[in-house]
Each structure stands twice: as structure tokens, then as C-alpha cells.
């Protein structure tokens, strides 16, 4: 983080203006020509000692009430963040109120000029909210902040991963959805000062939040984005994401899904060399052989613990039985619980009972369609497997289909737009025209492209 810890105890340096003067600069910059802010206001704010932002004006007014968060966005930002950052801020609820007010009113264009300062807001707000024991207070305002700062919901900002991290730490996964469900497509390092870590961390934390909500398909998608990001070397974030990708893939699909083929080789290689245990565990899982999976699990359990993935791995182990039962539904119409227990590899005196519990669970969660009958005492009950009763012939299907078509069309349109953009770009045209040795060959070349 670029913001240095404010030096509260330091003395006010001679060259910095006092609070009134600073306020005058801030107020006079409002509505001034566009180059005033970067040339005059920002240097003044940056050079000012942090002590100044804690003072009141000479006539005893609080600068936060003097300044207008909409017109004096940057000035207000400096005051409010510095105040939230000191060790023991006064009037915490009041500060939170000021921050929330600021978030609702700030001018996004101006905020972008002081984005490094703006980026401190999530942590500041979360600190204040946790300080009074209500971390949840930080979440809603931050959603607003992101929505207001990002030009479109598809744009990534520096606030994104910081916000998701706060949601993860306070376990408010559902609140993250307002941001997470907008897929990031646009990245604008020039105007929003984001870097590649922003992209990686956002998708990594996002994947973890989706795991928290048990939406494994989305988690998988997010981790896959991290792993397949353009890379020259491997980032530690990518390795961690890859670990989780393997486990979630097993959990959701029962096998290791292939990564996009444009994934950089070096990322795959580094993972293979350092975390081979995960891949061997996945291989064992794909065989659906319970003993083999358990052996492999025992071998890599230490690694899982170290990586803090043990809980997830345990879920994967449990899912193995479900996976096996699902396999049985493809093969059998009826099967006794005893046979199920045997076929899926449950052992011990309670095997039949455990099998029944699993089947009941799976029926409840809609993973399989079956009925258990205890009419025949033999084998402790018979399970009849049914087909998926969804015949795709109701309005719901139609609505779903329609939504999907619209989604696909929208994506297709964006791709088309991008394609046109490339086709018209100078770089592309220059690249194409290099390949034309003489200008009169142009028609031939164009003919080749058709």
C-alpha cells in the first residue's frame, strides 16, 4: 500500500501551510481548470504533515463539515482517511458517518486523480467498523464505493480485492455477491491504476468466497482465471489458486478439468514440480477407488494442512462416496443398501447405515433421484434409482434457455465490437501492411484474407 503510516507525533514542519491555508487551497481548486488539481492541490496535500489533517480550523470548525465531499473530493478524502488511520480515532461513529457520506457523494473523476489515497478507504472503513465491533458496517458502503468508482460493472478497480478480503475475513460471503456476480472484463491500468496483482488477488479471493458459499462452479471459473492469466513467471497467487482449483474441480466434477490451453507452460510446470501431491491425489480420485484415494490422502495430508486446504480436501474425500453412488445410478435401477455400501467402498459395521445416510442426503440435495424401500428386509433396504424428472418441458426451461441465449448473444456482441476495434487499430493495420511487399499486391493480400 502506498500510503505511509501518518506521523502523528511529528512536529508540524515549517514549510507546510496550516489548516486554514490548506482548506483555502482545497476550496479554491473546486471548479478550477483541470490541471490545477495535479499541479497545485495534490502537491500541497502530499507535502502537508499528517498532523494538519487532524486539526480544526482557527475558528474551531471541523474541516469535514466545511468541505463538500462532492465538490472537494480529494481534499475531503485526505482529511477523512488520515483521521481514520491514526491509532485511536475520536468519535468513531461520526467518522464512519463521514466516510459513508463521502462514498455516496464523491466525484469519481476527481477520485481517480488520487487513486492511491482512495484505495485506502476499504481498510480504513473496515478498521473503524471492527473497532466498534460491527465489521458488517463496512460492507454495504464499500459495494457503493466500487459501483461508483468503476466506469462500468465490468471494470476492475483497486478496491475490488480489498473489499472481497474484508468479506472473507468477516465471513460475509453473500454480501460479496453484489460485486462478484459482475464478471470482470475491462482492465484500465492508466485511469484506475490497477496492476496484475489486483486481477489475480480479486479472482483468488473471489474464488474463496464462492467456496464459502459452496458455489463451486463459479469458484472454479475464478481460479481458472487466476491460473491462466498472461504470465512470464509464476506468481505465488497462481500456485495457491491452482491448489484450490484441483480440489474444487474434484469436488464439483469428480475429475480434474483441463485448464484453458493458453495457460502458460511455466505456470503449469512450477505447479507440477512443487505441488505434485495435489495432482497425484487428483489421479487417485479419478480412479474412484476408495482405498487408493485414502492412501494418497494420508500421503499429502501434511501438505493440505500446511496450505490450509485440509477442510476442503476433507470435503473432497466425502464427495468420493457421493461420486460413486452417482455412478451406480447410471448402472443400476435397484440395488440393496448393502450392495451400495460395498460398491462405493464403505466399510465397518455401520457401513449400511452410512450408505443410507449418504443416499438420503443426496436425494435431498437433488444430486440423485431415488427412493428407499424397507419393505424387503434383506440387505437393510432397497434403493430404486429414477431418472431426472426434469423433462425440460416447462416454462422454467424456456426462461432459462432464453436467458442463456441473451447472455451468449451479449458476449458475442462484445467480442464483435472488440474484433472491429482491433481491425481498425493502427497496430493491426501496420502489422498487416508490413506483409505486403508492393502496394499493387494489396488486392491479392485482401483476397487471401477472405
Amino acid at each position: 500500500m502506498s500510503m505511509s503510516a501518518p506521523n502523528v507525533s511529528g512536529s508540524i514542519s515549517g514549510i507546510s501551510p496550516n489548516c486554514d491555508e490548506l482548506l483555502a487551497v482545497i476550496v479554491s481548486s473546486a471548479g478550477a481548470p483541470p490541471d490545477v488539481i495535479p499541479k497545485r492541490l495534490l502537491p500541497a496535500l502530499k507535502n502537508a504533515s499528517s498532523q494538519i489533517f487532524l486539526l480544526s480550523t482557527s475558528d474551531g470548525k471541523d474541516p469535514l463539515t466545511v468541505l463538500d465531499p462532492e465538490k472537494n473530493t480529494i481534499g475531503f478524502l485526505y482529511f477523512v482517511t488520515t483521521r481514520s488511520y491514526i491509532d485511536r480515532p475520536n468519535n468513531v461513529p461520526g467518522l464512519i458517518q463521514h466516510l459513508v457520506n463521502f462514498i455516496n457523494k464523491f466525484d469519481p473523476e476527481e477520485a481517480k486523480l488520487a487513486i492511491d489515497r482512495f484505495t485506502a478507504i476499504p481498510e480504513a472503513l473496515s478498521r473503524l467498523a471492527s473497532g466498534i465491533g460491527k465489521p458488517v458496517l463496512a460492507i454495504r458502503p464499500l459495494v457503493t464505493a466500487i459501483q461508483r468508482l468503476a466506469p462500468t460493472p465490468a471494470h476492475l478497480t483497486t478496491l475490488h480485492y480489498r473489499f472481497i478480503k474484508i468479506c472473507l475475513l468477516s465471513k460475509h460471503y453473500k454480501d460479496a455477491l453484489a460485486v462478484l456476480d459482475n464478471d470482470i472484463e475491462e482492465v484500465d491500468p492508466q485511469r484506475l491504476s490497477i496492476n496484475v496483482e489486483d486481477v489475480l488477488l480479486y479472482h483468488y479471493y473471489g474464488g474463496m468466497a464462492y467456496i464459502g458459499m459452496k458455489r463451486f462452479d463459479r469458484a472454479l471459473e475464478f481460479f481458472s482465471l487466476v491460473i491462466s492469466s498472461p504470465s512470464q513467471v509464476t506468481s505465488a497467487i497462481q500456485i495457491e489458486a491452482h491448489k484450490k482449483y484441483v480440489l474444487v474441480s474434484l469436488l464439483e466434477h469428480g475429475k480434474l478439468l483441463p485448464l484453458p490451453k493458453y495457460t502458460t507452460q511455466v505456470v503449469l510446470r512450477v505447479f507440477k514440480n512443487n505441488c505434485g501431491g495435489y495432482l497425484e491425489f487428483a489421479q487417485a480420485f479419478e480412479s474412484l477407488n476408495v482405498t487408493r484415494v485414502k492412501n494418497e490422502f494420508a500421503k499429502v495430508a501434511d501438505m493440505f494442512t500446511k496450505d490450509k486446504n485440509l477442510g476442503l480436501a476433507r470435503q473432497v474425500l466425502q464427495a468420493l462416496y457421493c461420486r460413486n453412488i452417482q455412478q451406480l445410478t447410471q448402472t443400476y435401477m435397484t440395488l440393496s443398501l448393502a450392495d451400495i455400501a460395498k460398491q462405493v467402498g464403505l466399510e465397518g459395521p455401520r457401513a449400511v447405515h452410512e450408505a443410507e445416510e449418504l443416499v438420503v442426503q443426496m436425494i435431498e440435495s437433488g444430486q440423485i433421484f431415488a427412493t428407499i424401500s424397507h419393505a424387503h428386509a434383506q440387505g437393510g433396504g432397497m434403493v430404486s434409482f429414477d431418472d431426472d424428472p426434469d423433462r425440460y418441458d416447462n416454462g422454467l426451461t424456456l426462461a432459462e434457455l432464453d436467458a442463456r441465449i441473451q447472455r451468449a448473444a451479449a458476449v458475442g456482441e462484445r467480442v464483435g465490437k472488440l474484433d472491429r476495434g482491433i481491425g481498425l487499430s493502427k497496430e493491426f493495420l501496420a502489422r498487416v501492411s508490413i506483409n505486403i511487399p508492393f502496394h499493387y499486391d494489396l488486392y491479392v493480400v485482401i483476397g487471401m484474407f477472405r
Partner: protein, 439 residues
């Protein structure tokens, strides 16, 4: 040299060595009379190696064949050594090695080599293309006769530059193929087959074609292609009966019937079996030679699985003693059995497992797990009612299936495209994971 021979032998055995206690109805003398040249010896040695019951006879025949028909003294000594091992193991008196013959043969072989090489040199000086070709070929034949396969292959390949007519090319290809088959280098065989096939009109074309088909079928058997049995079967079925005893240095017409029949059975569906095998007049001639294979195919076609499986069981040991087919026997049998199971069930909506088990002479428990495997492999669209012991056809609802599939494809497209959009924009904005900057 002996090590070399052993290494050669082990290379061919991809699967573990199977020992056959007793052949089913293999008559060694009649069987081996169908072959001549190297394959005769190789087959004898192979049988001796695997079948203790026939070991002594097979070694004796091999030794006799080597002594009369070839200059391969190394192989002769090797075979005699093996024969004596076998004799001693059974407490019989060993047969002595004919050292005088070995020495004379070696001398003769050397003299012949020198003579042919000097002749070839002479031809080369005279620059007469045809003579050079003949010289190379004779030298190749000689090396082949001495068992020096790699040199033989070199000589045969060298004739290539001196071929002037289509016949020369075909001869060259056939020679190279013969040696390569013996060496087990089937990719080589494949490429020379295509060379020979592109040669323009030649005399007795159909015979040449037949030979090429057989070689190609053998080459197909050796590949790791999933469809290898189907391809091999097709080749054997296209083989003309003219081959009768004209390719016995590689394969006999009985082999064509057995190999072709089994491969076809393991890979063709019922309709293909009828149109390509049973109604194939050319192949009928082959089947006449091996009536049990004909009966096998007929019983399979007429859904008489019990007879079919019995015939298979009765000829298994013989096939395990076949030089080319032994490593494929298990696989072929498995495929045939699977196909029989699939075909048995195909006309029914539901089948009583007890009756099915009886038709396949097995018990319900085992049949159930066999069927479960087939269902998992998606070869039978059915489900087992383990309670009532019934196999029921799966009612695949095509409409639901299409819906399900298109929804998945739609989701995948959506995800992939969005991921690509992000990736594209990242590359465009130069957001790439880079090594940390050096400080």
C-alpha cells in the same frame, strides 16, 4: 549372437509369457508344413518356448530345418542348445552339436559373402544399373539366409536406387517387408507397403496385392491404434485366395482365415459381419480351410453364443501358440465376449439375468459385474435391476438429452468467451505476471 536372438524374441512379446500346457488340436507337422523359410523356424522356436508338451518335437524340427535350409549356424547352435536343455530336463540323452557342419557352413557363408561382395564391386565399376541391383539383391538374399537381418535389410534397401521397372520396385518392397516383419519393425513395413502400392501396373498384380494386404494386416495388428482389429480384419478380408501357398515365408492361408475371422468378429457389427465376411466369396475359400472359424462366425451371427464361446475356448491354446496372434488373443476374446453380450441384449427391452447367465455359461453375480462394466463404458444402454435380476434398456430421452447438452455447451461458451475477453484486455493493457524488478 545368442543374446541378440533372445533380445529379439523378447521384444516381440509385449504381453507376459504364457505357458500353454497342452494344445487343443494343434498338429505340429501339418501346421508347420504350411510355412517355409525363416518363419517356419521362428514359429517352431516360439511353440517350443511356450508349450512344454511340444517342446522336443518343435526343437527337433527347427534344428532339422535350419541344418538343411539355411546358413544360419548361430541360430542352429542356439536351437541345439535349447533342445539339449529340454532333453536334459526330461532326463533324456542330449543330441550332439554337429560341429563340422557349423564350421563348414561358417566357412561357406564367409566365402559366399566375399564372392558376392567382389562381384558387386565389379558391377559398380561397370556402372550397369541392372547388375548392381542384382548384386545387391543376391547379397541381401545371402545375408538373409545367414540370419544377418540388419545387413540383409541394408542390401535390399540399396537396390532401391537401381530399380528401373515397376516389378523391381515391388520386389524390393516385398524383400524389405519380409525382413522387417521378421524384425518386428512394422512401421517400416507400413511405409514400404505404400511404396509398393503406388508402383504402376505389374505382372500377377492380384498376388502382389494379396501379399501387401496380408503384410498390411499384420502391421495394423502391431499398432496401438484403437481400431487396429477392424483395420486388420478389412485387410485380411480383401486378401485374394491366390495367395494360397505363395506367401508361406510369412503367412499361411489358414492364418488368413483365423486372423481375419477373429479380428472381424471382434470389431465388426452384425451387418458388417454378414456383408463383409459371410457373403465374401473370396474369404469363403479361406474359411473352408479352417471350418471351426467358419462355424464360430456362423454361431455368433445366429446368436448361438454358447457354441460360439465353446469354440473360442477350445481353440484358445492353439492361438496362444501363434507367433503373430498370441499377444492379441486375450484382447480379441474380451472384445468378442463383450460384443456377444451387447448383441444378446440388443433386441430386448428387458432380459432375465438368470437366463442370460445360462447362455453365457457364467453365474449371475459375475454377469452382473461384467454388465456393469459395459454400462460404465457406455457400450450397453441399460440398467441393472439388481433386486429382480433383470437388465432393462435405458429409455434415453433424446429431447432432454439435447436440452441438457445445449445448456452445457452454452455455459461453456459463455465462460470461455468471457475469460478470453478479460485475457485479451489484460494483454492489451500489458498486465502480465512478470519477474520482480531487480533492485
Amino acid at each position: 549372437m545368442n543374446d541378440n536372438l533372445d533380445a529379439n524374441a523378447t521384444k516381440r512379446k509385449r504381453t507376459g509369457k504364457v505357458t500353454v500346457d497342452s494344445p487343443n488340436n494343434l498338429d505340429l507337422d501339418t501346421y508347420i508344413a504350411n510355412y517355409k523359410g525363416h518363419t517356419k523356424v521362428d514359429r517352431l522356436l516360439f511353440i517350443a518356448d511356450r508349450c512344454p508338451a511340444l517342446q522336443i518335437d518343435a526343437y527337433r524340427l527347427a534344428v532339422g530345418e535350419l541344418k538343411t535350409g539355411s546358413l544360419d549356424s548361430a541360430k542352429y547352435s542356439h536351437a541345439v542348445g535349447k533342445l539339449n536343455d529340454a532333453l536334459i530336463a526330461r532326463g533324456l540323452a542330449p543330441q550332439s552339436l554337429d560341429a563340422a557342419w557349423v564350421e563348414a557352413t561358417q566357412k561357406r557363408a564367409r566365402a559366399q559373402t566375399e564372392k558376392l561382395e567382389s562381384e558387386l564391386k565389379g558391377y559398380k565399376n561397370n556402372m550397369i544399373k541392372e547388375s548392381i541391383r542384382m548384386g545387391h539383391m543376391e547379397l541381401g538374399d545371402h545375408f538373409y539366409n545367414c540370419g544377418d537381418l540388419s545387413n540383409a535389410l541394408k542390401c535390399y534397401s540399396r537396390t532401391r536406387d537401381y530399380c528401373t521397372t515397376a516389378k523391381h520396385i515391388v520386389d524390393m518392397c516385398l524383400n524389405v517387408m519380409r525382413v522387417s516383419i521378421e524384425l518386428g519393425n512394422f512401421s517400416h513395413v507400413q511405409s514400404y507397403i505404400s511404396k509398393a502400392e503406388t508402383a504402376p501396373e505389374v505382372q500377377d498384380k492380384s498376388l502382389v496385392q494379396a501379399k501387401l494386404r496380408c503384410a498390411s494386416a499384420l502391421a495394423n495388428l502391431d499398432t496401438n491404434n484403437q481400431n487396429k482389429y477392424k483395420l486388420a480384419a478389412k485387410m485380411f478380408l480383401e486378401t485374394s485366395f491366390e495367395i494360397t501357398n505363395n506367401y508361406s515365408e510369412v503367412i499361411s492361408s489358414n492364418d488368413v482365415a483365423i486372423y481375419g475371422g477373429l479380428c472381424a468378429l471382434a470389431s465388426f457389427d452384425r451387418a458388417e459381419l454378414k456383408s463383409k465376411v459371410m457373403d465374401n466369396n473370396e474369404f469363403k475359400n479361406f474359411l473352408e480351410l479352417e471350418p471351426h472359424i467358419r462355424e464360430l462366425i456362423h454361431s455368433f451371427y445366429h446368436s448361438n453364443y454358447k457354441t460360439c464361446l465353446e469354440i473360442l475356448e477350445n481353440s484358445k491354446n492353439d492361438l496362444l501358440l501363434d507367433l503373430h496372434l498370441h499377444s492379441h488373443v486375450e484382447m480379441l476374446y474380451e472384445n468378442i465376449r463383450k460384443k456377444a453380450l451387447v448383441q444378446y441384449f440388443s433386441p430386448f427391452q428387458s432380459v432375465d439375468l438368470n437366463r442370460m447367465a445360462a447362455s453365457f455359461s457364467t453365474d449371475v453375480r459375475r454377469l452382473e459385474s461384467e454388465l456393469a462394466l459395459l454400462i460404465t463404458d457406455n457400450q450397453i444402454q441399460a440398467r441393472i435391476d439388481s433386486h429382480k435380476k433383470i437388465l432393462c434398456a435405458k429409455q434415453q430421452d433424446q429431447r432432454s438429452h439435447v436440452f441438457e447438452k445445449s445448456l452445457t455447451i452454452g455455459t461453456d461458451y459463455d465462460k470461455a468467451t468471457r475469460a478470453l475477453l478479460l485475457r485479451f484486455n489484460m494483454v492489451k493493457a500489458d498486465l502480465v505476471v512478470r519477474p520482480p524488478k531487480e533492485i
